[in-house]
Amino acid sequence: MNTPGTEHPLVRRYLAALERLLSDFDPVERAEITEGVRDHLCDEMSDGDDGSVDAALRRLGPVEAIAEEAMRGRSTTVVPPVVRPPVLSRPWVPVAVVALQALSFAIVLLASLAAPGVVVTESSVSGGGTTTVTRDVVFDAGESVDFMLAAVLGTIPWWPVVGVLVGSSPLWTAWEWIRIVSAVPVVGLLLALFPVVGWSLGGQDGMAVAAYASLVVCAPIVAHAVWLLPRRATTRARVLARPR
């Protein structure tokens, strides 16, 4: 609201200086402050003559003081520069680790399903009017373990890449690195050894039970490696990605 008083050169200079000091403020906030000061001066000017202009401006105080008060709790359209975190601290890293780990686990799991298991051979011998059927159930533990070992080696190159990514990234601790890197070989070993133990304890039935048990034991290890630890890393990556 402009009145003849606010057109006074001293007043215009005062308000212009205030606008300049608040130039990087949110436009709405800047307008509210300057309008308040202008209206205050309008009110003062509606009383008096030119001599009151100096007194009114003195009572308002220096524009620097008003701007300083406005700085406290300011809102501004100036956006702080976004500092991007280092490459290995970004959210894509845990996603890549999950994908590679999942691929490795899939290879190991498929191998365990395809591993040489029980071989049943039947032979029959006839004689004297009777037929004798001999059934041999054979399980080659060594061959089974070798197969699983080959499966774990088959996860190369994904698994070493996981090791390098996780080891180079600040998103995981050293202990978490150990847990992630060891997950695939540990799961492969368990899937290989459980059936062997089951066979030695309970034959074919024992091996079947042990095979299912191995899946139950391996499930939390897999969940840890492809969900829990990467999720922690994703949270850390998001924190690092926040503007400072």
Binding site: M1, T3, L18, E29, E32, I33, E35, G36, V37, D39, H40, C42, D43, E44, S46, D47, R59, L60, G61, P62, V63, A65, I66, E69, A70, R72, G73, S75
Partner: protein, 116 residues
């Protein structure tokens, strides 16, 4: 370095001025120059009238006060500030806390050697 009176006064003002404004508005709605006249009367709470306006803008954004334009008998329309419900609750809370704070500071001052 020993801070000057104005530095200490500025620091103290920053903590209390908003609540003094709320207390004035608790009585009735007021316009900016009127608030400045009351608070600045003794030069303690308000150093320059102009510093009131960024504070009022902040209080309005925080929802402690609302504003309304009213015609004035002499001069242009005036923007009146009135206490919101949030502002009233804030003021009530401040009154309780202020008493505790004031008594604690007074007590600490009394226990300090050399205090008057």
């Amino acid at each position: 370095m020993v801070p000057g009176d104005d530095v200490i006064m500025t620091q103290l003002r920053r903590g209390a001025l908003e609540y003094c404004v709320l207390s004035l508005l608790d009585q009735r709605e007021r316009y900016g120059r009127e608030i400045a006249a009351v608070l600045g009367a003794d030069g303690v709470l308000l150093d320059g009238d102009g510093t009131l306006y960024p504070l009022l803008a902040r209080m309005r954004r925080a929802g402690h006060v609302t504003t309304v334009w009213r015609e004035s008998e002499s001069g242009p329309p005036r923007r009146y500030y009135e206490l919101s419900l949030t502002g009233r609750e804030t003021l009530e809370r401040f009154r309780i806390v202020w008493k505790v704070f004031r008594d604690a500071v007074d007590s600490a001052m009394d226990e300090t050697p050399g205090a008057a």
